[in-house]
């Protein structure tokens, strides 16, 4: 089931509208996280798991749900565009 699923992007972004007379400085690009659980739907049994120690550090027991967060605002702003 996992293989056919096309790779999704864990982070997406959009550029908010900015009017001509907007006094505030432009925000530029805003990002939002789209973790795997949005795409997996109802969890199927017997998914591959991390070891307990690894799971504790990764924040999830099942490998499919692991979602590494890398702050796009700090990383020069060019993250995986949705």
């Amino acid at each position: 089931m996992d293989q056919q699923r096309e790779r999704f992007t864990p982070m997406k972004s959009y550029v908010p509208f900015r009017g001509l007379f907007d006094p505030c400085p432009p925000i530029g690009e805003k990002y939002y996280s789209t973790p795997p659980n949005l795409y997996v739907g109802f969890q199927s049994p017997n998914l591959e798991q991390f070891t307990p120690q690894e799971a504790l550090r990764k924040g999830t027991l099942w490998k499919v749900f692991y979602d590494y967060y890398d702050n796009p605002y700090k990383r020069g702003g060019d993250s995986g565009h949705g």
Binding site: F42, Q43, P45, P52, A55, L56, L61
Partner: protein, 86 residues
Amino acid sequence: MANTMPIEYYQQLEEIQAVDFVIDELVLYLDTHPTDQNAIQQYNHFALYSKQIKQKFEESYGPLQKGSVNIRQDYWAWSGPWPWQV
């Protein structure tokens, strides 16, 4: 002069944390998949294992939580390091 606990203290504590995390994950999973026998089997395995390692930890380092058995008969064993000092 640092007053810290032996390395085993931290190793056992980490083991307990990892096992309890797996238990929490499986509890959430089993709430929505009550008929998944493999998960139930894994949950029972970890639940038993968690009891054992907690008992082993408490025998050497004192109670882990309220309601733990007080190892020593002559002294109320609630002493440091407190969780925030660990």
